[in-house]
Amino acid sequence: MIRVENLWYTYDGGNYVLRDVSLEIVEGEIYYILGDNGSGKTTLIRHLNGLLKPSRGRVLVDGLDTRETPVSRLAEKVSIVFQNPEKMFYMPTVIEEISTTLRNFGVENPDQRAEEILREYGLSRYRDRSPFTLSGGEKRILSIAIMTGWSPRYLVLDEPTIGLDGDYRRRLQWAIDRHLSRGGAVVIVTHDMELVLEREGRVVILSGGQVVYRGYTQELIDLDPGQLGRYGLVKPTYARSTSYMKTSGVIRDYHGYCGVFAEVAGVLDNV
């Protein structure tokens, strides 16, 4: 379990970017951190593997205080995939990019495992290409492939769907589901409401560095578009229709319907 306790953080010693944020991240669960630009989402997740140390409050990862534990030790448990995947690439080929990280975390048979990972993520044809020559979506899926290779316990994704569609989006979904089914926890920072509504999970909305909303994805559908808009979120049309159907008594709860509507919407988009 990761416990974020009354976390305050300031970059410059002046204004606080995080204000008294508390959060528990439990294995097997999925968490969505939402909020408008500059609300402190990335700053919050940088605390989860000890890259940033709290100005006030504390963060405990499986009982280890991040202030007293080296980042390398925490990084093995908490894997963070950052917004811009390019900043992590440095090896000449895609395959080496994966295996070098497996080696860092002491995975057995790193080379063989790297080949498997390539296949799992549909990246085999780029095996010997330089990561920098991949497309935006390919870079992103590669960064996710790299950061899940050693089966970390907590997987943190910062805006994972930007530039991903079709096949790669499905691979991302698959990676998330596999991680959850193995008992890991997933934390997703996103503006993508479709991604949020695809799974039952917990929702935390940040605004100005404070937690302004806590709840479940189901309840999010009930919030009116204006309120969501204030947090920089857009309600997908199909979510609007499902909530309309619920208020008018056509369906009793959302469970299952959102997925169906999302699929219908997807099909309609492609017509």
């Binding site: 410059d12 890259l51 963070i80 950052f82 811009n84 992590m88």
Partner: protein
């Protein structure tokens, strides 16, 4: 810990007297102090210059916190200069002089750079007759340093998250660890500079182009006072340096005696 110390040298808007002065006046004063620092070889007077610069930065610029960060970042370099001189000369007091000069040079530059928006600096250069291409290059590079510092922090964070250890292991591990930072840094900065060039082109920038500055500058009463005060102090110190030094030394030794008793 690995956060880049460049922040300490960056301009940040603030409401203080020094920030409101004309950039040209500030540049001139910084220049006067630098010349003075270079010419003066008396340690007592260097100390006086440090005090004057400190007063300027603290009272007129309200830069206390920033100055501390700034000097902490510089401390290793100053130590290095001191040690290098000490190894050559073997005299600790004499080795202090170059260190003092370095300190005063940096503080002189601070009176200008910490308090002047890079854009205003570019306009200043332009007013002094520099071609637009050069002034633009200047202000872009100043901004770029800040962008790169951020990119660098993010790269370091990404690599730490991948399990890289930056400060352990043998020579080969260390070299490998540093390539993990240098390669993305170089590629990203080259890309960024190409996109800046493309943007300039798209915006219709070409050599020899004329433009109308967005802001205008005017020398005011306080600018004149600021320059005149610094200039007279500098001239006085250069001309009456000997007398001032004797007086200063006398005061200093008397203080030391008091403290000893």
């Amino acid at each position: 810990m690995y956060r880049i110390g460049l922040e300490a040298f960056r301009f940040e808007e603030r409401d203080a007297a020094l920030y409101r002065l004309d950039p040209r006046a500030k540049l001139l004063v910084a220049f006067i102090y630098m010349v003075l620092t270079i010419l003066v070889n008396s340690q007592a007077i260097q100390l006086l210059i440090t005090a004057l610069l400190l007063a300027t930065l603290l009272l007129l610029g309200r830069l206390g916190r920033k100055l501390v960060k700034n000097l902490v970042t510089l401390a290793p370099l100053m130590t290095l200069v001191f040690l290098a001189n000490y190894l050559v000369s073997g005299d600790p007091m004499a080795s202090l002089l170059p260190t003092q000069k370095l300190l005063n040079l940096v503080m002189s530059l601070n009176t200008f750079f910490l308090t002047t928006n890079p854009d205003d600096f570019a306009i200043t250069l332009e007013k002094m007759g520099m071609p637009l291409t050069i002034t633009l290059a200047f202000s872009l590079s100043l901004r770029f340093i800040h962008v790169l510092a951020r990119v660098l922090t993010e790269i370091v964070e990404a690599q730490l998250s991948r399990g890289h250890r930056l400060d352990t292991g043998g020579i080969t591990t260390r070299i490998r660890n540093y390539t993990a930072i240098l390669i993305p840094l170089i590629i990203i900065s080259v890309r960024k500079s190409i996109s800046v060039a493309e943007t300039l082109e798209l915006r219709g920038f070409r050599e020899g182009a004329r433009h109308t500055p967005f802001t205008t500058m005017k020398i005011g009463f306080w600018d004149v006072i600021y320059v005149a005060a610094s200039l007279s102090i500098a001239t006085a110190l250069l001309i009456y340096g000997g007398a001032v030094e004797t007086a200063l030394l006398e005061i200093l030794t008397r203080h030391l005696e008091y403290m000893a008793i």
